[in-house]
Structures are given as structure tokens and as C-alpha cells.
């Protein structure tokens, strides 16, 4: 169990009040393994561990701290530099676009997010712009019906951009409009193009990249593509209720120049939480 081995090394450290090179390397090795197992990008793990090691060896252990606390503090700061920010969600009129890879949890998160805004007192609706996946309309319309969320979609229409245009007209009276889109990846040029066209019509205030917590080394390349295509304002990490640690989130945040807005922790409508950096970081490093 990786978490335990890191704790053991830390406990060895606790009895020292200065760091020697050998102890630092041992600790760094354990940190590296924890991060790699948490799916953090390999190059990023190497860069982070290099920073942590340099700082651990050169910085003075503060009065009253022991070596263990010294390194923990450094690790926490290095992570906070990347993940410390939470996407600001204003409670005002806005258009939101949900994008991401196939199966990442966009549709489910769309309904969850709509409920979030509804509970904050905003008139919220959902627009189904996934005109590709069999049953996409049924999935989202049923989900919205069950949870009393106003819904717009066009079952027969294969043109996602049209559906969005019509939806914006039909749902004018709603303050928050959340648009669900079909899954797509970096190599699907026609779908990336469709996403750009939806973006141009919707002019969203928020473009959320919905990412599965279990995503592996693909996170960097995919996040970059979505960012280059339309610009991403926030990341939603889903399925954190399993065993995946969501290390890909670090790449997503760096590549998109944004931050994490929410996390998905289950299939139910309330299983959406505002991102908490401390809790996320502590689970990541075990």
C-alpha cells in the first residue's frame, strides 16, 4: 500500500531535525511512486520531485519543525502552486458549455451542475447538444425530468449547432443555460470543428472540461487540444468516488491555464462538490 510506505518514510524523518541527502532521496522516491500511481504526468512528476528535493536540501528546517514537517510543507506548497486555485463560480446570468472525452461524465455533470445553480436560486435550464450518441436525448431529458430541471433538445435534429441556436431562442428567460455536448477527442477533427462552432454560437462564460479521475498519461495531450480549440475556463474531475486519485487533473489545469471547479463523487444529482484543494492534495500524495 503506497500510502503506508510514504507514512513510514515520513515517520523515520520525524525523528530528525535536519535533512541529509540520503533521507531526502528516499522520501523523494516515495513521493514519486505515489504520484505516478495517482496518474500524474511522468515528466511533471520528475519536475515536481526535483523541485521538492532542491528545496528540502537547501531550505533551513524552521525552528520548532522537524524534518518530516519540513518536507510535508514543501510538498504541499509545490502542489498548491498548481492546484491551489478553485474556479470562481459567480451566481449570475451565464452560458456554460460542457466538453470532454467520450464517457467522461459530461451528461451526468450537466444535470448535477444545473441542480447546483437551481439550489442557489437561479433560473436554470439544460440544452442537449449531443446529436450523435444513441439515446443521448433520452438520457438527459429523463434525468432533467426526474429532477425538475427545464430541458431543451431536438430528438430528430442531427445538427448540434442548430439545436444550440434554437435552444438559446427558446430558453431566453433562463438565467443559466448549460449546454451538454457529445464526447470527442483530439484526433477527431470534424468533432473538434463542431465544438468550435458551438462555442462561437453560444459564447459561453464558462467552458468546463469534464475529465474522468482515472485518466492516465493521455490527460496532457487531450487537455491541451481542448484548450487550443476553444479555451477552457475550468475543469470538472468526475468519478472520484472510486479508487482513482485524479492525478491527470494537474496536467489538465496546467495545459488549460485554468483550475478545478467541481468534482463528481457519484451518479446521483447531489454528487457534485465544490473543489477543495487541501482534501484533493492530501488524497493525491497519500
Amino acid at each position: 500500500n503506497l500510502g503506508n510506505s510514504l507514512k513510514e518514510t515520513f515517520n523515520k524523518l520525524a525523528r530528525l531535525n535536519k535533512i541529509d541527502k540520503k533521507i531526502a532521496e528516499e522520501i523523494i522516491k516515495d513521493v514519486q511512486r505515489a504520484l505516478l500511481q495517482a496518474d500524474v504526468n511522468v515528466k511533471l512528476v520528475m519536475k515536481l520531485s526535483e523541485n521538492i528535493k532542491k528545496r528540502a536540501l537547501k531550505e533551513e528546517v524552521l525552528e520548532g519543525f522537524d524534518a518530516k514537517e519540513h518536507i510535508s510543507k514543501i510538498i504541499y506548497e509545490e502542489f498548491s502552486n498548481i492546484l491551489g486555485k478553485v474556479t470562481e463560480i459567480e451566481l449570475k446570468r451565464q452560458n456554460i458549455m460542457m466538453v470532454g472525452l467520450q464517457g467522461s461524465g459530461k451528461t451526468t455533470s450537466t444535470a448535477k451542475l444545473a441542480k447546483y445553480f437551481q439550489r442557489k436560486g437561479l433560473k436554470t435550464c439544460v440544452i442537449c447538444a449531443d446529436t450523435f450518441r444513441p439515446g443521448a436525448y433520452d438520457q438527459l431529458s429523463q434525468l432533467c425530468k426526474v429532477h425538475s430541471i427545464p430541458f431543451y433538445g431536438e430528438k430528430g435534429n442531427e445538427n448540434a449547432v442548430d439545436v444550440v441556436k434554437n435552444g438559446l431562442n427558446e430558453m431566453k428567460e433562463y438565467e443559466v443555460k448549460i449546454v451538454d455536448t457529445a464526447g470527442r477527442h483530439a484526433l477527431e477533427d470534424d468533432l473538434i470543428q463542431e465544438m468550435k462552432e458551438i462555442n462561437a454560437v453560444l459564447k459561453p462564460d464558462h467552458k468546463f472540461l469534464v475529465l474522468d479521475a482515472a485518466i492516465g498519461q493521455e490527460a496532457e495531450v487531450q487537455s491541451r487540444k481542448f484548450s487550443e480549440a476553444i479555451g477552457i475556463t475550468g475543469v470538472i474531475i468526475t468519478k472520484l468516488d472510486g479508487t482513482a486519485k485524479g492525478g491527470g487533473a494537474l496536467s489538465a489545469v496546467s495545459e488549460t491555464g485554468s483550475s478545478i471547479a467541481f468534482i463528481g463523487v457519484g451518479e446521483r444529482i447531489d454528487d457534485l462538490e465544490k473543489f477543495d484543494p487541501d482534501s484533493f492534495i492530501s488524497k493525491l500524495v497519500g
Binding site: 495517482a38 496518474d39 444513441p134 433520452d138 485518466i215 498519461q217 468519478k239 482513482a244
Partner: protein
């Protein structure tokens, strides 16, 4: 000269990094590299042979052993099994189970088998409609009950239907579920106990990282897996997940999913994957 631990340190470390960048799970990388190391230490280094190349050759063989299928292929199993062959598809949420069932259905239909689909996801909104649309497009019957009904009963009905009509294959869909949800894993055990599928296929995605190892392990422990179909390889995924899952289950990878259309299903071939990894 003899290869010693010091000679191997750098080439092995580079290999570890390469494998991890190739999306192989950390624990599997460590297990493979440690077996490569013990294979190599003490070996005679041929004159002029570069340590890097020797290490890579041994690694190639090591990975080949992890992913090779010594058993029957999927097509052979279908051919040899008593009909109706019942195939259960399982996995965590969103990996591509329902879409994969449609692809497998098309493949079987093209080979001349009769197929019926069982809508065993009675939980998620739109799940019934999704499989029904695939059924319509493929001209195949879908056995379904209402949302909220017992998935074991739906699948049972589909098998009875197949027996009564002399249908060759039953493809049973199930709801996605987290391997950590004991109630849902118990539900899956019940489905398997009541319906005794001939094949239990784990559907996971090539874009998953280390978690694929954990979930393959837990699904295998909970209900036993006969093989895997790995989806979403077209996202330019490196294929390392295939090694992780093969390693932990010891079962074959039957197919790769390479897109969202019915023809996007390719038979797993070791050489193809080895070329992808070793360039």
C-alpha cells in the same frame, strides 16, 4: 564481461519511465522491470553489444509473455460453445460496454450467428433507449424490462427467449459500477450466479491509467473474468493499459475498440501492440 547491477541501473530506469509514459501501471512496470533485471544480472555481455539493446530485447520478451493468449480466440470460443452462448459485459462507468456490445453483435451477425441483446442496465437514464437504438440499427431484438427492474431477471428472460427460438448468442449489458461499491458488485455476483454466462467480458478503456489495474483486479476477484475488450484506442492511447490488465487478470484481451462505429472493433494481436509500444 558480465552484466552487473550498476550497468543496468540507467537503462532500466529509462525503460521504467518509457513504460509509464506508455500508460502502463506503476506496479506492473516495477514487476516487469524487476523480472527483466533478475533475468539479466550475471549474463555474459557479448562483445560490442550495447547494454540498452540487450535490456530492450529481454523487456520485449517479458511483455510478450504477459500479453500473449495461449487459449482460444473469441471467435473460436463462440464456435465451440453450446448454444445459446451467453456473454456478460461488465465494467466501471462510461468505459464503452453498451457500444461494444453493439460492435460485437454486428461482428457475430456478419459471421452468420443469430443474436439477441439483453438490456441489463435497468438503472441509468437512457440506457434502455440507447441499446434499443443499436438493436434497431442492427436489426436485432432487445429484451428489456422497465427501469428499476432486476437485471438478473432481464438477462434470464433473454436467455429463455434465445433457448425457445434457437438463437445462437445472448449479449447481456450491465450498468456501469464502481468496483468499490459493494452493493453493486454483489448485484453483479447475483447476475452471474443466476444466469451462468459462458463468457464474462471486462470492458475497460485504453485511456485509463493506474486505476485500470485496480478495477480489473477487483472485478476479477468479485465475479471472475474470462477476457477483456479495451476501448477508445483511437484516442491515440498508447496501449499500456492492455499490459496492466493482462498482467493482473492473466486473461486474454479479445478485442480493441477503435472508434464509435460498429466496425471499430479489431482482433487483439500481440505484434500490433508490441509495435505500438516499442515503436
Amino acid at each position: 564481461s558480465i552484466l552487473n547491477e550498476k550497468d543496468l541501473e540507467e537503462p532500466l530506469w529509462n525503460l521504467e519511465l518509457a513504460l509509464m509514459e506508455g500508460n502502463v501501471a506503476l506496479l506492473v512496470v516495477e514487476a516487469i522491470v524487476s523480472s527483466v533485471k533478475s533475468n539479466l544480472i550475471g549474463r555474459k555481455k557479448k562483445l560490442l553489444a550495447h547494454t540498452d539493446e540487450i535490456v530492450e530485447d529481454v523487456l520485449y520478451e517479458s511483455i510478450k509473455n504477459v500479453i500473449k493468449n495461449d487459449g482460444l480466440s473469441f471467435d473460436e470460443i463462440i464456435e465451440k460453445s453450446d448454444k445459446p452462448v451467453v456473454i456478460l459485459f461488465v465494467g466501471v462507468n462510461g468505459t464503452g460496454k453498451t457500444t461494444t456490445i453493439a460492435k460485437v453483435a454486428k461482428r457475430l451477425k456478419d459471421k452468420g450467428y443469430s443474436v439477441v441483446l439483453a438490456s441489463g442496465d435497468t438503472y441509468r437514464t437512457g440506457a434502455l433507449e440507447q441499446l434499443e437504438i443499436h438493436g434497431e440499427r442492427l436489426g436485432l431484438k432487445v429484451i428489456k424490462h422497465q427501469y428499476g427492474s432486476d437485471p438478473s431477471a432481464v438477462i434470464y428472460d433473454a436467455i429463455e427467449h434465445a433457448k425457445a427460438r434457437g438463437i445462437d448468442v445472448v449479449l447481456a449489458d450491465t450498468a456501469g459500477r464502481m468496483h468499490t461499491n459493494s452493493n453493486l458488485m454483489r448485484e453483479l455476483q447475483k447476475i452471474k450466479r443466476i444466469n451462468s454466462p459462458d463468457l464474462t467480458i471486462f470492458v475497460d478503456e485504453a485511456i485509463a491509467g493506474n486505476d485500470a489495474l485496480e478495477r480489473a483486479k477487483l472485478f476479477d476477484e468479485a465475479i471472475g473474468l474470462d477476457g477483456t475488450i479495451l476501448t477508445k484506442l483511437d484516442t491515440d492511447a498508447k496501449g499500456g493499459t492492455a499490459i496492466s490488465i493482462s498482467y493482473i487478470t492473466g486473461k486474454p484481451i479479445f478485442f480493441f475498440g477503435t472508434g464509435q462505429s460498429y466496425d471499430d472493433l479489431i482482433i487483439f494481436q500481440e505484434d500490433w501492440l508490441l509495435n505500438k509500444i516499442f515503436g
